[in-house]
Each structure stands twice: as C-alpha cells, then as structure tokens.
Symmetry: C2
Subunit: 305 residues, 2 copies
C-alpha cells in the first residue's frame, strides 16, 4: 500500500507531502527531529467545504492531542508557529484560541510570543455591531527558552515605506528587481538594501492572496517565508501538519530547507504536489484504507460552478 519502509526514519517523509491525519502520521516521525512547525489549521467552522468544520466548542479537545505530537517531534531548540483566529459566535469572540493557549501551557509549551498579522485586505461586509476583521494571530510556542532564532535574516530597510514595499514583494516583483539590477538601476536598489537595515517588529503587515483560484484559503507565501528565515537555517527541517495547498512546503523548498507536509484532504495533496514538483506524482499516503475525499452531498452543485 505504501512505498516506504522505515516508518521510524524521517528520511522516508523528507521533502514529501503525506496524505493523512497528522495526529497519526506524526507517530512515525522521530522525536526531537523538527526545527520549525509552521501551520494554519482549519479554523473552527471555517472551510466547511473542504474540511467539514470543527465546532468551536470542541476545537480545543480536537487540537490538543495533535499539539502533543507536535511537541514530541519538535527539537528542544525548535519553534511552533500557529496561525489562527477566533470566529464570532453569537455576537461574541469565541474563547477557543485563548483556551488553547492555556491548555498548551499545561502540556508544557512555553507561550513565547504572539505576532500579529495585520491583513491589508480583509473580508468585506458590514454589520451593526462590529467592523471587518483585519488581523490574525501568529502564536509562537517553544519547548525551551533557548530556542534558535536568526534575527538578521529578516531585517528590513528602515522606514515604513520600506516595510510596506518589502511586504508587497511578490514573485514577479523579485524577478523584476533582478532584471533591473542588470541594467544599472539595480545599483540603487542594492544600495537601499545595504543601508540602514533594522529589525522588524512583532506586527506583520501584508495582503491575503485572493487571486489563486486553485485553493480557497492560502496565506501569502511571505508569511511562512518570514518565519522559516527567522527560526531555521539552511538544511533545517520544517513541518506543516495542516499543509493545505502547500504554501509552507513551497517556501521551505525555495529557501533551501527540508520539509514534511501532512494533509488530510487528497485534493489538496495533489494541488500541493503539482505546485511543488510541477507535476502530478504518486506519493506515499498513510498506511490505512485509502479514503477518497467526498464532497458533501448538499455542496456538490455549488462546487461545480
């Protein structure tokens, strides 16, 4: 059923997308082997079409056993970054996120920091009692106080204008910058880069990706990139246990890090593989009965359009 043999050796998973439930898949991964876990799990009751939705009231109990596995496989010097946001239930912000922080501390995690992702383009809408939600949490957990951090790798040019500029750097922008560099104008660019670099803060200000039609809830690749550069060095191993369409794996690969991606949705596994390897390939999946992803009956018509 599966084309790998040494389940206890992480090399079988190295640079692969694994199809399965991360809580089970991670049992095969040696303890203290991951340098960075960066993930954006399905939010409570969101992405119902693809994940079925986890009730807010059961979110913590759903997440905690997975967090225990994350803690086991993470190196003592490693970091776990959790991208999450509580939804509104009955007019109130639900408490599952802060409940989770407290429960994870009981598990032994250190709640080191909370970064803010200040989204530039939030979901539209108007309500009588609240404004649009324009931020998400990026919660940093660690096993030990002495975790690895490479602050110099994410330094930014001085000034807000530069920060905004950097945040906007898409793939095409980078290419354009390189082509400019060849024509003389690049000298100015490199001058800017060399001059007056400062450390960033714990607020990231960038736009969500709306253009990509292949997947519904991708964050911009800048987000995992930033944390991968900050918390790992070249050759390190990055894990995303809720891989989705593969943004984290893609970023890790581009930055010369190894990755392990786990995704429960077969459709997303295919998308991620295409994105990373440029073609559809056969990949190892969990050694269980292969469950075909099933579209909920009442959603089938909607999916078609």
């Amino acid at each position: 059923m599966s084309n790998y043999q040494l389940k206890t050796d992480k090399k079988d998973y190295l640079d692969k997308i694994i199809h399965g439930d991360c809580e089970k898949v991670l049992l095969d991964i040696p303890e203290n082997s991951i340098d960075l876990i960066f993930t954006s799990p399905p939010y409570a009751d969101q992405r119902v079409k693809t994940y079925g939705g986890i009730s807010p009231d059961h979110y913590v109990e759903w997440f905690l056993p997975k967090a225990a596995q994350f803690k086991r496989v993470l190196k003592p010097s490693g970091t776990f970054i959790l991208n999450i946001k509580e939804r509104v239930v009955n007019g109130e912000r639900h408490t599952y996120v802060i409940d989770l922080i407290l429960k994870m501390r009981e598990q032994g995690w250190l709640w080191t920091e909370e970064f803010i992702w200040h989204k530039k383009n939030s979901y539209p809408g108007k309500w009588p009692n609240r404004f649009r939600d324009n931020w998400e949490r990026l919660i940093q957990f660690n096993k030990e106080k002495n975790f690895s951090m490479y602050q110099e790798s994410v330094m930014v040019p001085v000034g807000d204008w530069a920060k905004d500029r950097l945040a906007k750097l898409s793939e095409t922008d980078k290419i354009r910058d390189e082509s400019r560099a060849g024509s003389g104008f690049g000298k100015n660019v490199s001058n800017w880069i060399g001059r007056d670099m400062v450390y960033p803060t714990n607020v990231l200000h960038l736009a969500t990706e709306t253009g990509n039609k292949r997947h519904s809830a991708a964050f911009p690749s800048y987000l995992p990139e930033w944390f991968i550069k900050l918390f790992t060095k070249s050759g390190d191993l990055v894990l995303d246990p809720f891989m989705g369409s593969g943004t984290t794996a893609f970023s890790a690969l581009q930055l010369g890090r190894h990755f392990i991606g786990i995704e429960i949705n077969a459709e997303y596994v295919q998308i991620a593989n295409q994105r990373i390897y440029g073609k559809q390939i056969k990949l190892p999946s969990l050694g269980e009965k292969k469950k075909k992803y099933k579209v909920p009956a009442n959603k089938k018509s909607e999916r078609k359009k």
Copy 2:
C-alpha cells in the same frame, strides 16, 4: 473634608477628576449610568513608581472586583474598552490578560471584540529572543448584545486609513474619482460618491504620542477619541477609572461628552486638572483620610532624574 454632599448622585462627579481608588469611588456612582468606560490600567509590574506595581500573578484578582464595579455602573447599552498588553515574564508572555478575559466572562461580561492598536513607532530595543512589541490589545466588553455603536462617526477615506497618512496616492485618487464622476453614468456616479468614505476595521494604525512625558503611560488622544466617537453620542457620559494624566477626560470634553475621571495618584490628578481646566484647582477627593502619595523609599533616587 469633601465639598460634595450627594454621593449617590453622579452629578457631583460629573466632569470632574476624582482622587481615589476607583473600586471605592465607584460605589458612589449609580448603576447603569455610564455610556462608555475607556481605560488603560496600570500594566502588571509597570509604572511601579506611581502605582506600586501589581504582580502579574495577582493581576486578575486585583482587577476583578474593579471590573465588577465597572459592570454595575455601565449602562446596558454601554461599552467597556480595556487597553492592555501582557508583559513578558521569564521569557514567556504572561497569561493574565487572557485569564482576565475568561474571568470577566464568568462575571457576565460579553467579550464582543478585540481591536488591535498597531503602534507605528514602538519603544526601541533589541533582545536575542524577540522583536520589539508593536501592538496592544483594545478589548471590547459589553453587558448586552444590543449596545450602542455609531459607526458613521469614524468612517475614513477610501484606501487604508493608515496608508492615507502617506498621502501620496490619495491626491491623485481623488482627482481620478472626480473626473470619473463627471463623465460617467448616473448610477456609477452615485456608487463612486458613496465609496468616498469607508468603514474602518478592527486594527487601528497610529503613532504613539511622544509629547506627553508627564504621564508614564500616555496613549495618543486619538485612541480615546476614536472609541468615544464610536460608542457615544454628544452629551453621553464617559468614565476612565484609571485616568492617569487625563487624556480620556480631555478627549471627552473636546467631543462634547461628559466625563468622570478617577485617579489614585494625587500628582496625576493635578496634572489632569491643569490639562483640562488650565489651572490648578481644588477638587473633591474620596472621603477618607487624605493620604499623601508616597514614593517608595528605594525608588526615590530614580524619580529625581
């Protein structure tokens, strides 16, 4: 000792700064009489010089009885905005803020929303394991779901209102909009005019005020202004139970709202009065033995500089 008689009548406190502990002073204020409570309490272990410092581990139990009084005096349609941020203790973010949210919900508060104040210029510094802290929480609590909110009063020009400060694009954008309006179809015209102003989001993006050095925890007046405009109308009553140097009272006055300010530190009471009334005046203080504010012995030298 005090120059007011009817302690149960809020009119005695109206538009005044009261010197005393808010937990006791509020006992004299009628229930359901305040439209907005906006405050920035002493953070745990911060402002040791002026408040004596509350240990992070005891912050919640220190705050809760005060929150109970806030709930009593707040109108059912009123809002409580709490500006707070957890400090780092032993390499970790302390949990007193999220503990407080959970405990206040047990008190009957609704945790309606959490605004983020994205500070533009944060305190400089560098640490090996974290970046500069560039944001604070503005936590919105309510007694009822049907609270008052005046969204139109805080609308902002199209395009992110933070971006608007850079103001390079806004000029040309406006011109473009006008030229379009003059030549387009009638329906489109009204659409474009309507889009001149948009509602803000739950992220506030403003610079910290550097001018006010008299008060050690001064926030920019823009912050209370924004929430006063959003949650009160002219003639309403705003309470700040940890008044500090009087920014909230000053903003309320300027916006045509009534205010009640409470401050435990006599020095700040004087500063606030000077700021608001332009002169040093005799004001009612709590009907207790007048306690002169005492500088802790080991801090005296530090105060001098």
